[in-house]
Amino acid sequence: MSAAEEIVTEAPAVEAVPKRAMTLGYGTSLVVLAALILIPLFVKNFIIFQMTMLLIYALAVMALNILTGGSGQFSLGQSAFYAVGAYTSAILMEHAGMNYALTLPIAGIVCFGFGFLFGQPALRLSGVYLALATFALATAMPQLLKLGYFEHWTGGVQGLVVTKPDAPFGLPMSQDMWLYYFTLAVSIGIYLASVNLLRSRSGRAFMAIRDNEIAASAMGVDVALYKTLAFGVSAGITGVAGGLGAIAVQFVAPDGYTIQLAISLFLGMVVGGVGWLPGSIVGSAFIIFVPNIAEGISKGLSGAVFGVLLFLVIFLVPHGARQIAIIAQQLAAKLKKN
């Protein structure tokens, strides 16, 4: 057996997405934004809550997208970062009495640090090995959170109850609606920052590493630094999403952040299209609504329906929502011509 294996012909871990194809056009963005601002004015509180969760998961999916679509690294462990963010916010609010809005940047920073540190050993790993290590991280997280040592802060198995904030300045809004607009503002801010990040020097470095690590290092990209940085940024955004999630659900408990969550986020990314940031919201809608629909089709088989749908996506539209968007665009262009 030869110990040397050809790497040249090997399929890359992630397919390359050109930088320009990563975002939406100006006009489309404004339409989506208008829809997101206006819809809550006309629907019930429960739907507003679901839309809040949609935005929160979209943030988490986008964070994974930056890591995988941007720098070509896998993670099946995003639920761990999400959990750390959620717990950071919850603990600061409940034990330190801090304002909810202030806890989010702290959750982001804590998770950035955690992700950056986890990125250090992850540096040595690629492809399946990285998927494996992060998979183990996600399965281990609930047990770590239940640990007796931290019980004073984390509430152990019972978890913590978080108070939902009221609308400030006496605005005539329900709590749900205020939280929705708050989440929307945070999401837009993070989305813009992420788009800019990917367009910047660092973003180009991420993509160079994704497409060819050796070539990137030959061009002077500090591979180790940028890979860990991608992990840190991704974990940081996921942490903010986790903090928002804790506030929205008003509750954190270890069993809310199992491997299932990590898998959902991963699926959301695949469905939304790897490397296409706006697809995150499509992916997020998939992971929130499809299990409900699947439950409607057959109660016991929801997992199976979910898996079958995923296979359909892989086989029919391997680039996820991005592919559908491109097809739609081409159709529209054809119609215009006629």
């Binding site: 294996e5 992630v14 040595r124 183990a136 281990a140 088989l301």
Partner: protein
């Protein structure tokens, strides 16, 4: 010292579970270069099939043989239908496929056999083995079966035509094709064998952890840890890794206070990360040199 020896013995007994699973993990890794995240679920499903056969009155060993044959065929069918078209796709797509398979099998098993915990029989009995309280006859039998499988695999890969062809197809697919090996079918065969080994692992593990659709999650993580420790390229290493992980787990639980059952998974995590960082090829694996 008495305590130490006893704990090592108990560790070997638990380690046999992980060794079984690690063997299946390494098998599939050899064939397709990916870790199959649905491996545990496939094993669980096979175990349920054997349980069902026994419920219908088939004797243990009859059910055993039928289940292994069924799993072998099912592994090949899954590869042909679902994963062959993905052979050229990026790793990411494959991982997504494994996860989809995981969800489907778990859900279908839950639907057919529901989520209540079931007893599973053992052919070896469960009396103390050779008068020792720490290791039962079942565990001894499990260790024996694992070692037997390992020996069979060794002979298969070393001395049979098909085994050699499989190794060739896995290490240098292009050259293997040039000498007339059907590499695509070798991969299918790898899936079938991994699935069959997984089913044996499942049937050996079920009397210990009890039968239910989620029985494999913890075992799979430890199986991964064992495979990584022993080296993903070496079936022998995987089995040794399994025993070492079992021993390690028991010793840590005994000698480090505050580390009990609740830290089981974090220990596996720490182990995986430490091994991957310090010695990525594992103890018995061969380091792969990449040519650019």
């Amino acid at each position: 010292m008495e305590l130490f020896a006893n704990q090592v013995l108990a560790g070997i007994a638990t380690g046999a579970i992980y060794a079984c699973m690690a063997l299946a993990v390494v098998m599939i890794y050899q064939a397709i270069d990916h870790l199959n995240f649905a491996q545990g679920e496939m094993a669980m499903f096979s175990t349920f099939v054997s349980w069902q056969l026994m419920q219908w009155g088939v004797p243990y060993w009859g059910a055993f043989v039928l289940t292994v044959a069924f799993s072998f065929a099912a592994g090949i069918v899954i590869e042909r239908l679902l994963f062959k078209p993905l052979a050229k796709a990026p790793i990411l797509t494959n991982v997504a496929g494994f996860i989809a398979l995981y969800a489907i099998i778990n859900s279908v098993a839950g639907l057919i056999w529901d989520f209540t915990i079931k007893q599973y029989p053992t052919p070896f009995g469960s009396s103390p083995f050779l008068g020792s309280q720490l290791i039962s006859t079942h565990q001894a039998g499990m260790i024996g079966i694992t070692l037997l499988m390992l020996a069979l695999l060794f002979f298969f890969f070393r001395f049979t035509r098909v085994g050699l062809a499989m190794r060739a197809a896995a290490s240098l697919p292009e050259s293997a094709r040039l000498v007339g090996i059907n590499t695509s079918w070798m991969i299918a065969l790898g899936w079938g064998m991994a699935s069959a080994i997984g089913s044996i692992a499942g049937m050996m593990i079920a009397p210990v952890v009890f039968l239910e659709p989620n029985m494999m999650l913890g075992v799979l993580i430890y199986g991964f840890a064992a495979a990584v420790l022993g080296g993903l390229t070496s079936p022998f290493g995987a089995v040794m890794g399994g025993f070492l992980v079992g021993i390690f787990e028991n010793l840590v639980g005994t000698y480090i206070p505050g580390v009990g059952n609740e830290l089981k998974l974090p220990i596996a995590l720490a182990l995986i990360i430490v091994v991957l960082v310090v010695k990525p090829a594992g103890l018995f694996g061969r380091a792969i040199v990449k040519r650019v």
